[in-house]
């Protein structure tokens, strides 16, 4: 659904651009290809890294890790699992929902969801490519620390 909308927007912009200026459109598409080809090596590395990590940390293993652990240790474990995994939201949310219904704490789930979305250990090579080592490490570290604040806050609100 999301992808269809994205294609629609891209197609409309492309047609509009083509009608306005063919030469400019041609340059734009050349730039698109060049940019894509430029980061293709990093993309491919990430896919393979993700494949290996996600093969071991599949949703069942994650459920086990998050379901069992509780308390402060559980929050820590959940944030770590979130940081090293790369799962799209539409897969992660249903899993998290099942865990919540199964008795996992909202605090732990919030730590997992937050670090999953904001911290990307496997995508670091790509981030470094664009933002350099310092900025990439800093952003990920700050986002990781922030996921604990999110966990405490969301846990507090949900348990009211």
């Amino acid at each position: 659904m999301e992808a269809a909308l994205l294609y629609l927007v891209a197609a409309i912009c492309l047609v509009w651009s083509f009608l306005k200026d063919r030469q400019k459109t041609r340059i734009a598409i050349q730039k698109s290809f060049k940019a894509f080809e430029g980061i293709l090596p990093q993309f491919l590395v990430i896919f393979l890294l993700v494949a290996m990590i996600m093969a071991i940390l599949d949703t069942r293993t994650i459920s086990l890790l998050l379901g069992k652990s509780s308390g402060g240790w559980g929050v820590f474990a959940a944030s770590l699992v979130g940081a090293v995994t790369l799962i799209p939201g539409f897969v992660a949310f249903p899993v998290a929902a099942v865990l919540l219904q199964g008795g996992a704490g909202a605090t732990q789930i919030a730590a997992f969801v937050s670090s999953l979305m904001m911290v990307g250990v496997v995508t670091l090579p790509l981030e470094i490519q664009f933002f350099g080592k310092r900025a990439a490490f800093l952003r990920n570290s700050l986002a990781y620390m922030f996921s604990f604040i999110v966990a405490v806050f969301v846990g507090w609100v949900v348990n009211q």
């Binding site: 912009c13 734009a28 060049k34 940019a35 919540l100 969801v113 700050l142």
Partner: protein, 178 residues
């Protein structure tokens, strides 16, 4: 050929590691292949329109206009714009980085770039709807509230903690996108 080999050297290393992984750990084989197929599908599906938009943005949006919307002097309006731009985006976080580079090239301020990445990573609107239906409205809304706050704090901290020279270097690097 040599350049190609150099550019893809990490990919070759990762491929070798992956082949070893598949050979040595047969228990994870199916799952690993499944993930590779899924990731490739996502890339082929989501990445092309993002890059088309990227190219069009580079050609059509003049630097002055982007400066006005998201530049250093854009203030609250710029932050709100960065938030909206990231929140209406689609695709995994790694697709946000090239877009951010183009925004940098066009003169968006560093704060707004970090806000944009934060919004893309966590306050995407379709995801929020999905989150509230799966985990409850309380969960989703409280996370959104603290995230908006946190994204702004992170952007301010990044700006404060990174040396100005490093930020300038990143802008120079983004300039090279062509």
């Amino acid at each position: 050929m040599k350049i190609l080999l150099r550019r893809y050297r990490f990919f070759l290393c990762a491929t070798a590691a992956c082949v070893l992984f598949l050979l040595l750990l047969p228990a994870y084989r199916n799952k690993a292949i499944e993930v590779i197929v899924f990731q490739t599908e996502t890339m082929l599906l989501v990445i092309p329109p993002i890059f088309i938009l990227l190219g069009l943005l580079d050609v059509w949006v003049p630097r002055e206009q982007m400066m006005r919307f998201m530049g250093p002097g854009s203030g609250l309006k710029g932050t709100v714009f960065a938030f909206l731009l990231g929140s209406f985006a689609a695709g995994p976080l790694y697709a946000a980085f090239p877009v951010a580079a183009i925004l940098m090239k066009k003169g968006a301020s560093f704060n707004n770039i970090i806000v944009f990445i934060g919004a893309w990573s966590t306050t995407k609107i379709p995801m929020l709807l999905f989150e509230s239906s799966a985990l409850g409205l309380r969960f989703a809304l409280s996370r959104l509230a603290i995230d908006i706050f946190g994204i702004i704090i992170i952007s301010l901290l990044m700006k404060a903690l990174l040396p100005t020279a490093e930020i300038e270097r990143l802008y120079k690097q983004a300039e090279a996108f062509d």
